[in-house]
Amino acid sequence: MIRDVAFGQFFPGKSIIHRVDPRAKIIMLTAFLIIIFCTFNYLSLLLVTLFTATFIALSGVPVKFYFKSLKVIVFIVLITSVLNMFYGTGDPIWEWGILKITLNGINRAIFITVRIICLILASSCLTFTTSPTDLTDALERLMKPLNKIHFPVHEIAMMMSLALRFVPTLLEETDKITQAQKARGADMESGNIFQRIKSFIPILIPLFVSAFRRAYDLATAMECRCYRGGNGRTRMKIIHMTKTDVISFCILGFIICGVVLCNIFVTAAI
């Protein structure tokens, strides 16, 4: 079933990572992702990997789900690492026609693999531990300065949270319609690619019809409760910075310093 995809799912919990301010989490994730790509030697790579592992352990979400989220990108990782292997500089270790593998190339391949894996794991850590509402709420607040240049921050955030809110609903609906059409003998497992695409029509049409119906209903319901955009709208839950957030920023600072120092004092591998 489609629901088996783990990437982007939220696992409710009470771990320290769950409790960190969602705004802080977004800022730190962004910084951490940049740091991941600023690692140029094995020591800093190890440092980044260790920290990713620590985040995973602290999040309290079963490791199994992190592996599940990696499953989606196995191919991307494989292809990029193989390609990188052939783009190294220096003396070739192995040569065949125009293809040659160098020590530098192998290093590059290892780096890109570890970096992508860390990137996915760290992002999963954010989505696993932050509810979609908190996430969009935090994004709206972080993007608030953009209001000055007439960027519709509230509208975008509202659209995002509505889209996220309807993902499970629509998945469930897809499941239901698929079951109903299968019960009428729809065959989605056999046939060539064209037949398979055609066999999705009985699912897609009812799905679109119901998505539009839901959208109209929701719009009416929002208007009935006097929704008219973000101006002057107050919030039910106001997020505040706490001690946990300060500590986590300190840890982030430590990681940045660590990686920068490594880059200065250890010779680069790539």
Partner: protein, 288 residues
Amino acid sequence: MSNILELKNLSYIYGEGTPFEKCAVSNISLEIKKGEFIGIIGHTGSGKSTLVQMLNGLIKPSGGQVIFDGADIWENPKEIRRIRFKVGMVFQYPEYQLFEETVYKDISFGPSNMGKSGAELDQAVKAAALFTGLKEELLYKSPFDLSGGEKRRAAIAGVIAMDPEVLVLDEPTAGLDPMGRDVLLSQIVQYHKERKNTVLLVSHSMEDIARVADRIIVMNNSEAVMYDETKEVFSKGRELEKIGLRVPQITKIMLKLKEKGYDVADGILNVDDALAQIFSLLKKEGKI
């Protein structure tokens, strides 16, 4: 009569191995005879819908077997589609599955998947439309232009057109007006009588179930806690109330009378029977 469906230690667990793991059906064993009209009742979330979805192999049981006509339906997973034609399934709010340009085409989706065509197909579609009371001129309209009740009929016709040996209906009357409910229910009964096939009806309306079912499966907390003749089940009013269900109003009145010491029979299911009982009681006491 022989058994058409047999469930052996059937169970189903949602999201096995995730934090959201939930047992929806646990260890159900029962037999359904050919030509029976079975009612399935139980409060929301008791596992009724999951149970019926296993009957035609839409979901694979986590444990146990579904035996149709003597053979396990999962014996040959590639042939599961053939079981779905034999065990027809009408979902809750089936009108949301309509997709074709015309009602006629939509009803013919099932039978044409079975390989029917030409006159045979035409006959199946028209017969199904007749059973559900769809007027002929509606067949050539877009399903999205029909009223709610008509859409429901069209969707049910889409399953009936496959002429299944077992017809499973999950809350077919939910959201219809009282008149629409009555008419649809009598059409299902009529269909059952004429085709002599097996019908399973899931419903929240005890009145509906009391009216039509021969036997009733009562579900509670993913288990089948009762499976007996309609009369027997509804004579256990107290037990039903304990699991969040109730008996039909008229049955309840008669149960109360009995508790007060009047000599009336158990499990009265309709007003006519109740009237007869009360009249005979009054006569016996010499009041009329």
